[in-house]
């Protein structure tokens, strides 16, 4: 008997908007001029937040912070495709996602000062708190999607993680369960090429992260993660497919971490400067601007105005955070269980 090929797969790479701001109109997602402006403004706002967070850290006013610089299109493009009812499970480098969904910026600052109150998601949003242990929150999105399916809700769950997260067991267990039960979940891998000091090629011998989806029986796609149109389209398509009962999708956003891993890291120890320079030309904000300029909806004064407003807004959010004051020390105990235990009732008196 001859050997037969019983399974084959192909991995697509999607780019709609190139580095010069030229878009492939045949596959351009349906975004109005108003949408384009909103996306542009969210990119500016997220970057402003990020820069101010780094500054505040340098001044000792914020704890360790993980910058999103360079990954804004992956975050904003994907989050913009979500509906309010969808559930989002971020890792720790997704401030652009929170901002796009309308999470109060002052609360994000509050969180990074080391105050859990900042992660008390407002009632009208379904976004989970920052998850620190890499990749382990993947099954949570799977569970939420499972619950939505059981309850018959037309809702999808979306999980964010990085190239490093794709090596974790929970990533594989989560994807496997999602595939078997054909759940309405979208996995977004922001492949930013670095897991602290480990380059992407040492993270996995696979050519792409996207192809890992095929091991679990569903589609994976790689998109240019600095192309906000490609990210948006892939996410929107995946969400629609999920809600129509088509099961999960893995989207690999091929992007780059322009900053250090966190403020506690020094990437110059392990990463050649030239690499970072090359990626500057691929900047997600730059290419959207070039596109909008060609379309006649960008002017320098428009950008200046957007930047001014973003600066003022972020500054006012910082003031709002400062006005919130310190948390109650009793909160350490209050949120362990719904009700205090016999012992906690004594402990709470001790710290009061």
């Amino acid at each position: 008997m001859p050997e037969n090929i019983i399974e084959k797969f192909e991995i697509k790479h999607l780019q709609i908007l190139d580095e010069k701001g030229n878009a492939d109109t045949a596959i351009l997602p349906n975004l109005s001029d108003n949408d384009l402006k909103k996306l542009f403004e969210l990119l500016i706002l997220s970057r402003q937040f990020d820069q101010r967070a780094l500054q505040l850290h340098a001044e000792g006013r914020l704890g360790t912070y993980a910058s999103i610089l360079g990954q804004e299109a992956s975050q904003i493009g994907s989050a913009y495709a979500l509906e309010k009812t969808d559930w989002v499970f971020p890792s720790f480098r997704e401030m652009g996602v929170y901002i796009t969904l309308g999470y109060p910026i002052w609360m994000l600052f509050q969180y990074w000062t080391g105050d859990e109150r900042g992660m008390k998601t407002p009632d009208d949003l379904n976004i989970f708190p920052v998850s620190v242990p890499v990749g382990t929150h993947t099954p949570h999105a799977v569970g939420a999607a499972f619950a939505a399916k059981i309850k018959g809700h037309k809702t999808a769950a979306l999980s964010y993680f990085g190239d490093g997260g794709s090596s974790k067991g929970d990533f594989h267990e989560g994807l496997n369960i999602a595939g078997v039960h054909k759940l309405p979940v979208v996995f977004i891998c922001q492949n930013n090429q670095w897991a602290i000091s480990l380059p992407r090629e040492k993270q996995t011998a696979s050519k792409t992260i996207a192809q890992k989806a095929y091991s679990y029986g569903f589609e994976g796609i790689q998109v240019d993660g600095n192309d906000i149109f490609a990210v948006y389209k892939a996410t929107k398509d995946a969400l629609e497919k999920a809600k129509a009962g088509g099961g999960p999708t893995l989207i690999e956003c091929f992007t780059y971490r322009m900053s250090d891993h966190t403020t506690a890291d020094d990437a110059s120890r392990y990463r050649p400067k030239e690499d970072v320079e090359t990626w500057k030309d691929k900047d997600p904000l730059l290419r959207l601007k070039l596109y909008m300029q060609k379309k006649g909806i960008w002017t320098q004064s428009y950008e200046d105005d957007v930047k001014k407003k973003a600066t003022e807004f972020v500054d006012s959010e910082i003031k709002k955070e400062e006005a919130a004051g310190l948390p109650d020390s009793k909160d350490i105990i209050n949120y362990t269980y719904k009700d205090l235990t016999q012992r906690q009732k004594k402990e709470i008196k001790e710290i009061a």
Binding site: E116, F128, G143, E173
Partner: protein, 319 residues
């Protein structure tokens, strides 16, 4: 009222809670058609075909999925086939389930139950006789429950399912089919965090849970012992223990888990802190050895025997 064993009692509790609350769902390995390796979920998939799910063989994924389900608004009951396989879930339990309420300052919670068979007594392969309950008692945000009879298994599981926080529910495999007793068909709940004074006595307080409770009851003849079944190890009933110790002045703690950092260490420290001046003798623990739990042929040497329990009782009485 029928006389049933613990397997039937747990099955009854699951079925009744699923009937009562459509948000209760079951997930785990072989829990569907097979009814679970101990047949705990037998017959349930026929009644609730859309709410019982066989999962791939992935313990961490099972608990992680349950966390997402619970946060979304379901009340998942996840089965881990044996306690020896729960270690893969420690990160999900400790880094997520126990913290989600705190991490989100109350916006999200994790009302789920992780059930798992636990302890010695059925002569299985390695890692099927674990009793590492203390691991989970060291996780603020998690509750740890251990039934000791068909009656309390039913009532405790009902409370665990209705509890707003994550509960690790440890089912002593040795007791699954050992005892039959009258268990009401009617709904009842036994509150979590309350101990049960199984037998009143004046001279020595004996603290035990799970299958060791029965070994204690076989060993106390001739002693005026007050036997307390903790039932819930986290949080545990400080008040009931303290009242008893103040009365008897002597404490013997029995558990089959390893002695060092076992739950008896916590109880012993608690008694020393709160009731030192009432004690007539040092606290004595009778526990498993500081060694890997052996397989079947050496099991009897490992766990507290009737003889070791009697020796400990004599020791505190003669001190």
């Amino acid at each position: 009222m029928a006389r049933i064993n613990m397997v039937q009692a747990i099955n009854l509790a699951l079925g009744q809670e699923m009937e009562r609350d459509k948000d209760v769902v079951l997930i785990g390995e072989d829990v569907g058609k097979d009814g679970g390796v101990f047949r705990i979920t037998e017959g349930l998939v026929e009644k609730f075909p859309d709410r019982i799910f066989d999962t791939p063989l992935a313990e961490s994924g099972i608990v992680g999925t349950a966390i997402g389900m619970a946060a979304y608004g379901l009340k998942p009951v996840a089965e881990i086939q044996f306690m020896g396989f729960i270690y893969a879930c420690v990160e999900q339990l400790l880094s997520h389930a126990s913290r989600i309420r705190s991490r989100s300052r109350g916006r999200y919670s994790c009302p789920m139950v992780v059930r798992t068979p636990y302890g010695i007594g059925i002569k299985p392969p390695e890692l099927h006789s674990e009793s590492t309950e203390a691991l989970f008692c060291h996780m603020p945000g998690i509750k740890v429950v251990v039934p000791s009879s068909p009656y309390n298994a039913k009532g405790l599981l009902v409370s665990a399912i209705r509890d707003p926080d994550p509960v690790v529910f440890l089912e002593p495999t040795r007791l699954y089919r050992l005892i039959k007793e009258e268990v009401p068909e009617a709904e009842y709940a036994i509150p979590l965090g309350k101990a049960n004074v199984v037998q009143e006595g004046k001279e020595v307080t004996v603290l035990a849970w799970g299958s060791m409770l029965h070994r204690v009851l076989e060993s106390i003849e001739g002693f005026d012992a007050e036997v307390i079944d903790l039932m819930c190890l986290s949080p545990y009933d400080e008040e009931t223990i303290l009242n008893s110790v103040k009365k008897t002045g002597r404490v013997v703690i029995i558990h089959e888990a390893t002695r060092s950092c076992g739950f008896g260490a916590e109880l012993s420290a608690f008694v020393a802190e709160e009731a030192m001046l009432h004690l007539k003798s040092p606290v004595v623990r009778v526990t498993g050895l500081d060694a890997v739990i052996p397989m079947a042929r050496l099991e009897d040497y490992y766990a507290p025997s009737k003889e070791r329990i009697i020796k400990a009782l004599k020791k505190v009485m003669e001190y």
